[in-house]
Amino acid sequence: MGSPQAENRTGVFFCNCDGKFSDILDFRAIISSLDLASGEIVQEVPGLCKEEGQIQLSQSIRAASLNGLVIAGCREDRLNKACLHTANQHGIGPYRTAFVNLQDLCVNVHNSGGPLNQKAAHITQQALVGLRLQAPVEELKLQIFPAVMVIGRGEAAAEVAAEALKQQPVILVDEVAPPGLDLAASYAGCRVTAVSGQAGRFNVTLQGPEEETQVRVGAIVIALDTPKQIDPALNLPEAEGIVGVSSFRLEAEQDWHGKSVAFVMGDGESQQSTARALELALELREKYGARVEFFFTQMQVAGKDLEYRYRLAREKGVRFNRYIDPPDVHVNVLGVTLKYNDPQLTASVPSRALVDYLVAGEVDLPAPETAGLSKALQVNMGPGGFFQPDNIHLLPARSNREGVYFVGACHHPVHALDTALEAKAVAAKLARFAHGCVNLPQLQAVVDSEKCALCLTCYRTCPHKAVDINFEAEAARIDPLACQACGICAAECPAKAIELPRFHNRQVMAQLGYAGKVIAFACENSGLAAAELAGVLSRKYPAEVELIKVPCAGNIDAAYMLRAFENGAEGALLLTCHAGSCKSLLGHARAEARLQRTREVLASAGIKPERVRLQTLAANAAHKFVQSVSNLVESIEHGDGETR
């Protein structure tokens, strides 16, 4: 891990917004309280979003040959853009430019006075020490394999293969090459048994009927076909004349004129099943004039074209019957009898329908290979035994591993309706791998191999499975493409061998030296966004509350919390996403575990354990942010925090 920029010449520029901020903030006092290292300068500028402001900025950069900028001002995008542009002209990269949102974190949320100025100084100082201790960010050029492997058979697999083929070689597994696709290779009847390597450089072991093959690909798409089953909630008897919607065929030599067919849809089935049923119902009416009765309890109209098909079917004379309890179904020589209570009719006598055939709605079952493949690829499974955990950040098609995606019902039946659209979305992700080379800045976690004791903690813990063992270096190795820079591993490593370039231990510890009485460790994805929103909404809260930004609550090291108290803080708050919507899946759980440990330490040191708290919140929960920080401040003011 690199050491800080050899020569730090950072300039701090306070934009007073044409004097608008000067009424509230005392810039003189703020500037004089900053701790500047040699080579660092500070200035107050009237309006940095204007051309004159940028000219002044340019002159100052040139005069002091600055190589870093802290811009403290409003939240406006044009301010950020203008400053980044000027910085760029002077060869100052985006990682040497830091913005401080004085507007939302200070001006809009606190009353003027000493604590407000101190907070403004602190957050600016935090940005400054952050840059001071920031190592140069390396630009990586990674060689990767352009080919993508599609695992599965059926529509979803064919669709994503066709999309990907427009941009890169495609290898199909477990599928005879569909006609018309110019595949790089196809391995019919093969099973994936193991995968090593990471996104961009996967090495897949395939077990065929006779032999094992190794295939190298950049990305993997799982597009397994899912078996279908008549919705068990419908409680239908097994009998001739009753079939599932996916096995009902109209093209049989049978004449459907004068026949009657009932469609019975359940409640929990897929949109795909409803869509197919509506399609068949329409065809039976239009082509053959058959009598069609359609039973449903909740009409699914949210999917593509569903509403349209439903209306059309009504117009064409399909009879729609809503039921509360699924119809009672009997089969005899006359046909299929359905007994049901029509909620429109008050009569207690049940209604009856006699039809020749009953077509039943279906639910998808997980593909039988799901568990095995999930193990081989180290991707998590989700609800109902399908792929993909229920997490907003993974939707629609991502797995917990970079470079592994899903298409179709295999990751959840809800995705089956528009596989074509999903295939396109996945192809857009795959495009990253198509060129055989990826350029990216090294902002991901890095292992110091000298310090690494190979304890395997990071390897076991990483939610994205981005860690491998480098046997030559005898150290863990974090893959820059696979790593999502959550920093969970850095906070867990018992040898302190892992650092995130922009949230280095030395940066955060230094920032903690300039933090208030109450410190809110704020996950970028939730807490920080909620705090900024509180600013936008001008929701006031006590000015002694200061934020320390972290990439994920899972990066909040127990040592950070303890250091805060050592420095004299009286309370700390961990602001994390809800467990089910944590971008790094485990962040909330790790924060919770460290909270418990920190509380034990505080208790033995004679500090009330409740002085450190955890608050889950969403990015838009400004009120929750305000409430939780205010509650903590209030309880500090009321209660004596020390137990001895």
Partner: protein, 225 residues
């Protein structure tokens, strides 16, 4: 590896109570891997101690060496050691003693309880596997150590306390001899267990007093003489 566990904070605060400046010394070997005494734990413990003494100043230095059971590595600690009144070692008992030997005039305090030689069953769970008995019998017991994993260290088990595959001391502890029999059955070698093992020579274990391993072929002073 050697598995250890932190002493309670209350105990540690008492240990360091008389001092005004101490060094918390970590070890980069086994105790880093079992998460009890590496650089991370050194930092956390140092913080905890400082917090507990926030009204009664105590200065805490922190340093971690590659392995505390090597005199050479410990020399890196010498300047910090000379500055402090006491050293709190977060190594296993071996590390604590090597530091104590090297620094005869400094109190060297143990921050951990050294537990056993074992392995992680999963992240955060470690189990004992060897007692260093001095004469390994794993060849006769299909790779399952009866000395360690049988609560009575029987060589011809199981005893009458084996119930449903569990040891009588605790329903969560598998009976080692059940495990040995199961393994023998799966290998089709139960016959091998018909041999009665003779009494073990415990003098090669702890019962013979402190032990030493001497390797003449690698010793340097032999040649130097």
């Amino acid at each position: 590896m050697i598995v250890a566990e932190a002493k309670t904070l209350e105990e540690i605060f008492q240990l360091v109570e008389p001092f005004k400046k101490i060094l918390v010394a970590g070890c980069g070997g086994c105790v880093t891997v079992c998460m009890a005494g590496g650089a991370k734990e050194v930092g956390l413990l140092a913080s905890a101690i400082r917090l507990s003494r926030r009204n009664n100043q105590l200065e805490v230095l922190e340093q971690t060496v590659l392995r505390q059971c090597e005199y050479e590595f410990n020399r890196e600690l010498s300047s910090s050691v000379s500055e402090v009144e006491a050293v709190l070692s977060l190594a296993c008992g071996v590390g604590v003693q090597s530091l104590a030997e090297q620094n005869p005039d400094k109190p060297v305090l143990p921050g951990l309880n050294t537990k056993f030689m074992g392995l992680p069953l999963e992240q955060g769970v470690w189990a004992e596997r060897c007692q260093g008995c001095g004469e390994c019998v794993l060849d006769k017991t299909f790779g399952i150590c009866p000395i360690t994993r049988c609560s009575k260290s029987l060589l011809n088990g199981p005893c009458g306390g084996s119930q449903g595959g569990k040891c009588e001391i605790d329903p969560d502890v598998p009976c080692a001899w059940q495990l040995i029999y199961d393994k023998a059955i799966s290998l089709g070698q139960v016959d091998r267990l018909r041999h009665i093992q003779p009494v073990k020579d415990w003098s090669k274990s702890r019962d013979g007093g402190p032990r030493k391993v001497v390797r003449g072929d690698v010793r340097l002073d032999e040649i130097g003489q």
